[in-house]
């Protein structure tokens, strides 16, 4: 010890320490809302997917929807014109872009690839790294791949941003990946799980035989209980870093108590205990791909049964918002910010596991328990967003209204082929209850906002029963427009395996789409453009509209819309040539959208997926409620876009087709 410590040196050391501490708080920084000071106007929009005007009216008149009644008392209620066809990605895109599908290019959940007639997702395209190098068994990307949102046109929050008006857009459907913006946005319907799928539950059971073999939206894994232990694997995303792209997977063990109905799951470095019929809440799992690369996901475990048969359900692995492997939000750090505030939450576009209910993996009660988690999360997050809402626009989306109507319509409607009196006694009010839940969400929001805030409640389409299914491709075959290589074949698999394209004039892909096999457009097209095609389109459309269901005596389709009659804008050429508008009670069959032919054109729908909205736009309008008088007589989705711009004093761009409703 010779020299005393210099004062300056001491300062230097302590500064070092302080800056180290300052570093720690970095991740607490909150991303600033864009353009804070630009407006004192506030607009709150609540989007309840699939809320039906008729049902709303019925339950409102019975006094079951007090908040709706209160809001209507301050303004008005209208049926809201939906899109052709009334599918969510199409309808919400009408709202986002302020156009009809000809302006935004989304015509259906599923489009066809003209190169091979195959179905493709309409909303987003994942392009893998084009340049890769191979090192032994590894495939390393030199340039990263990308995910692209295929919706065209500007989103209204992008227009608002140009005028410095802040907007927070929460779980807007058809916005995956979220379009570039400085606004706070979080993607919604269309967002895949970590595997890139719409849904992929896992079901581990010692009794795999009781499940159908080919199930959609998940997989069944046979397991054995050996020494009170179950060993299995949780499959993850395809490992694109490896040759042959094997699935990444995580091993896990489940330890069972030999007497008590309780088990411990040990996966990666975590352990948790579940009683029979208990949900685990969110668990984080990490799949390692190569030594320096791993992806993080979140999933829920449900211990359905310990004995006599072991049954464990694991939900789709959602993209982890704390460390998103795929883009979920703008700014990109917003997802992690939300995770920090609320913990893990559902990021998959449609979080409810309708596939598991449809395939008897989860029963009605279990399905609802999980969807209640979705609702609960949404409510907490909405409350918080409302607390932060001080300027501009806030859009918030709820999916449960749509999902529960799809699955429980059969118990609301005694005439439905899948009606079950026993189940109806227990679950007959599920749809009514979700409307009342929507009402309470609205009520809480109304209590939280000030009186100057404009409140708009909307849905993208209504709902009706799905009692009879129509196989478009089978109909086309029976009417001679679609020809098989083997004319005696009664049914085919997916993706048109038996089609003789050299003699086929038309085919169906997607939930409402019919395409002409046009020369120069489709891979093996035979119908010439111009009069030849025009006559064919009119002929098929007429026949479709005249087609009557022999069982009911009703027309199957109210409308067969000819694309160029109903669409306008730069992308009309990409539309299906005819868009089916079904009559009430009818919908496309489950197989036809993927290029399959069922044996019969018409069949009863005995599935749990029993309510739907693929009909003519005229009979499937959504709802519009606002706390300002609505002057428009027949407002439509794109009119709301014009309304938003008008409220904030932004001039409407020329390609937007709507008019303000106020």
């Amino acid at each position: 010890m010779s020299e005393p410590i210099h004062r300056r040196d001491f300062l230097k050391y302590s500064l070092g320490a302080a800056s180290l501490l300052a570093l720690e708080s970095r991740s607490n920084l909150v991303t600033r809302t864009f353009g804070k000071t630009a407006t004192n106007k506030k607009v709150l929009i609540l989007g309840f997917d699939g809320m039906d005007p008729h049902l709303t009216n019925v339950w409102m008149s019975e006094g079951k929807l007090p908040a709706f009644k209160r809001l209507i008392g301050q303004g008005g209620f209208r049926r809201l014109g939906t899109s052709i066809p009334p599918q969510s990605p199409v309808a919400w895109s009408n709202f986002i872009a302020g156009t009809n599908p000809g302006g935004h290019g989304i015509f259906d959940f599923i489009h066809r690839d003209p190169k091979n007639y195959w179905p493709v997702f309409s909303a987003a395209l994942t392009e893998e790294a084009k340049k890769t190098i191979r090192v032994g068994n590894w495939v390393l990307p030199i340039k990263g791949g990308e995910v692209r949102n295929l919706r065209q046109g500007k989103a209204f929050w992008q227009i608002l941003e140009e005028h410095d008006i802040p907007a927070a857009i929460f779980k807007m459907p058809a916005n995956y990946p979220p379009v570039p913006s400085k606004q706070k946005t979080f993607s919604g319907l269309g967002t895949p799980d970590l595997l890139g799928n719409y849904n992929s539950f896992r079901y581990y059971t010692t009794e795999p035989k009781e499940i159908k073999e080919d199930i959609g939206g998940g997989s069944v894994h046979p397991v054995y209980v050996i020494g009170n232990r179950v060993d299995s694997k949780l499959p993850g995303p395809a490992n694109t870093f490896k040759k042959d792209r094997p699935e990444a997977e995580i091993e896990f063990k489940v330890f069972l108590d030999p007497q008590n109905p309780v088990a411990k799951v040990a996966i990666q470095d975590q352990e948790f205990i579940l009683k029979e019929k208990e949900w685990s809440g969110w668990k984080r799992v990490r799949f390692s791909l190569i030594p320096t690369q791993s992806v993080s996901g979140i999933c829920m475990f449900y211990l359905k049964e310990v004995r006599p048969n072991f049954k464990l359900y694991v939900s789709s692995i959602n993209i982890d918002p704390a460390d998103p492997a795929l883009p979920l939000s703008t700014p990109s750090a917003y997802a992690a910010e939300l995770e920090k505030r609320f913990g893990p939450f559902f990021t998959k576009g449609l979080p409810a596991d309708t596939s598991a209910l449809d395939n008897d993996i989860l029963d009605e009660g279990e399905f609802l328990e999980q969807d209640d988690f979705v609702l609960q999360e949404s409510k907490v997050m909405l409350d918080d967003e409302l607390g932060r809402f001080d300027s501009g626009l806030l859009f918030y989306y709820i999916s449960s209204t749509d999902q529960r109507q799809h699955m429980f319509w059969r118990l609301l409607d005694e005439k439905h082929p899948a009606y079950d009196a026993g189940l109806a006694a227990k679950y007959g009010k599920v749809i009514e209850n979700i409307y009342r839940e929507a009402d309470s969400i609205l009520g809480r929001a109304m209590d939280k906002i000030d009186k100057d805030t404009i409140v708009i409640v909307m849905s993208d389409h209504g709902f009706n029963p799905f009692s009879r299914s129509f196989s478009l491709n089978t109909w086309l075959k029976e009417n001679g427009y679609h020809v098989l290589t083997n004319p005696f074949k009664l049914e085919t698999g997916n993706l048109f395996p038996d089609t003789d394209w050299s003699r086929t004039k038309a085919f169906g892909v997607g939930l409402n789409g019919l395409y002409i096999n046009q020369r120069g457009r489709e891979a093996e097209g035979i119908v010439g453009d111009g009069a030849e095609k025009e006559n064919l389109v009119r002929e098929i459309a007429k026949k479709l509209e005249e087609f009557v269901d022999p069982k009911t005596g009703q027309r199957v389709l109210l409308k067969a819309y000819v694309a160029k009659d109903v669409y306008s804008g730069p992308f009309v050429g990409e539309a299906p040539d005819i868009v089916l508008g079904f009559n009430r009670g009818y919908r496309i069959s489950f197989g036809s959208p993927l290029g399959k032919m069922e044996k019969n054109v018409l069949e009863d729908n005995k599935g749990k997926w029993s309510g739907d909205h693929m009909g003519a736009a005229e009979i499937l309008t959504g709802i519009l409620v606002a706390n300002r008088p609505i002057l428009a007589e027949a407002p439509a989705l794109y009119d709301l876009t014009a309304t938003i711009l008008d409220v904030f004093g932004v001039e409407k761009p020329r390609d937007l087709i709507g008019k303000t409703i106020f």
């Binding site: 501490l21 009170n228 330890f255 108590d257 309780v262 088990a263």
Partner: protein, 275 residues
């Protein structure tokens, strides 16, 4: 052993007392500084300082030789040989202080694990409570009753796993505080503490261990279990916090070693220690 653990643990409680409510970085920086100083002290007093200095000078000299005679193969090779020898000598001089240092550093690490290794439970959070039996014991031959205090609920029946010699329960934290769960078995009873929503820098004993020497050495946070119980450990599985730097989570051990080495090297000139 418990008396030593309690007393040694007390020192850390006093050192950390002023920093308990602050970010754990403050406590970490202080303890790394103290450890760095301790390491310097040990090095200075147990190493051959003169020998180290000579060895280092020799290395420098031969490095110079290498540069000056880089075209002369013979001289270069010889210089390489000398550098190697001096290096070995240098290493042998520092071996002794390293060996001496292991003991106190290990004891410090064990204590620090109580402070930085675990995060207390949040109210509402669940955790696994795990009893591990000694070799040869079977969880089905033992009926242990568990009595949770008001701030903790036990949500599941006992889960007995023979192959792991384990009995597990799921706890849920209901209230803030350091709670004591009581286990009863035949006429015996013993406590286990559970920490809920403590300060960010808090001493948390995850494991209550058996009274064997090594178990006690590595788990100094709670009074050991009585030998005759046949229980190896009782553990509450707490979340591991990690330390946050630029938004990255880093294990506290890495932070600790990095900081104490930085402090040690930074201050070696000041204390005239040759390393």
């Amino acid at each position: 052993m418990w008396t030593f653990n309690a007393a040694f643990g007390r020192i850390f409680e006093i050192i950390f007392l002023p920093f308990r409510q602050a970010s754990p970085w403050f406590g970490m920086i202080l303890i790394s500084l103290l450890t760095g100083l301790l390491m310097l002290f040990i090095f200075r007093h147990t190493s051959n300082q003169e020998g180290i200095r000579k060895a280092k000078n020799k290395i420098k000299a031969h490095l110079l030789e290498l540069r000056l005679y880089k075209d002369n193969m013979r001289v270069s090779l010889k210089a390489y040989g000398h550098i190697l020898l001096a290096n070995l000598k240098y290493l042998s001089y520092s071996a002794k202080p390293m060996l001496v240092m292991i003991v106190p550093v290990l004891l410090i690490l064990i204590q620090l694990n109580l402070w930085f290794g675990y995060r207390s439970l949040d109210v509402g959070q669940e955790a696994v409570l795990k009893i591990k039996l000694e070799e040869g014991k079977n969880p089905f031959q033992i009926e242990i009753a568990i009595e949770p205090p008001a701030g903790i609920s036990v949500e599941t029946p006992a889960l007995r796993i023979e192959e792991l010699r384990e009995i597990d329960w799921r706890l849920r934290a209901l209230d803030k505080g350091v709670h004591t769960i009581t286990f009863r078995w035949e006429n015996q009873s013993f406590p286990k503490q559970v920490a809920v929503e403590q300060h960010r820098l808090s001493k948390i004993s995850a494991v209550k261990a058996s009274s064997s020497f090594f178990d006690q050495l590595f788990n100094p946070g709670e009074r050991p279990l009585l030998k005759k119980l046949g229980i190896q450990s009782v553990e509450v599985v707490y979340p591991a916090p990690g330390m946050n730097l630029f938004g990255w989570h880093i294990h506290w051990l890495i932070v600790f070693f990095a900081l104490s080495i930085i402090f040690g090297f930074g201050l070696k000139g000041f204390f005239k220690v040759e390393i």
